[in-house]
Symmetry: C2
């Protein structure tokens, strides 16, 4: 499916990963693997819960040196194995509106490319201000570093 972005509110990271879609998919959907790459080091990701179905939980806790831990429990919206994972933090498990949220829907899109993967990680936001805020927080560097960590973990599989 073609994904049309709104440049006012959306951010996109594109990377060419060495690992094939099957391994990238495992890194995104198996908690023990996701914990190894999800946040740029030295941030530690733990207590990951993934129930891989629409309405299922997608939860992470991140320990950020010098800051409080951040726990979020989002909701998975779409699952197309090895191709497409969609989740949001505006909803929690069972589609229950989250009391508090960053306010983002994420699309992870994988396409085979040679022996590797064309990797697209897309973040949709409520407003242009929120897109800019996420960009200023370091979206491109942060998600880019995480994508390189993901590819390194995938290489061990």
């Amino acid at each position: 499916m073609t994904m049309i972005l709104n440049p006012e509110t959306d951010l996109e990271l594109v990377r060419h990963l060495k690992a094939p879609p099957a391994k990238v998919w495992r890194c995104w959907t198996e908690p023990a693997l996701l914990e190894q790459w999800f946040a740029p080091k030295p941030v530690v990701t733990r207590d990951v819960k993934i129930d891989l179905r629409p309405g299922g939980i997608f939860a992470t806790t991140m320990d950020i040196p010098g800051m409080d831990s951040q726990t979020g429990a989002g909701c998975i919206l779409e699952v197309v194995p090895e191709r497409r994972l969609v989740w949001t933090d505006l909803l929690g498990p069972g589609y229950h509106p989250a009391a508090d949220s960053f306010g983002m829907t994420a699309f992870i899109l994988l396409e085979p490319e040679g022996t590797g993967t064309l990797y697209r990680a897309i973040a949709l936001h409520r407003t242009p201000d929120q897109r800019k805020s996420h960009e200023d927080m370091g979206f491109h560097d942060g998600w880019g570093t995480a994508a390189a960590q993901l590819d390194a973990v995938a290489a061990t599989l």
Copy 2:
């Protein structure tokens, strides 16, 4: 699927409708039918758009006498024909976070009951305050009146 509600944040309307699930489903999913019953009269519902798939639009405009029109474009989350429709206004079409929302996920659950339907309309909210606000706005009367209007429209099919 058993649906476990959180009484702190959720509201539920249960009705026994005369129409069978197939007709109730049509009233919920065909725009020309939904416009006839969706809001308690004299509120007029118009410009309904329904793309009946996960990620599809669920949009309504309501003309409320003495007030501004209210337009909302929500997102359909789950579709099980004649049994289960889930949508939220926290997201718009394509799961894009809505810039502004009431902040609700709705479950419409239909079960055959004799020649009619056991009808459950459930609203999940972010917080207890928002549940109470929705209740104070007249959730039970409003959704109850709409359910009776729905059954009257279904009787014409």
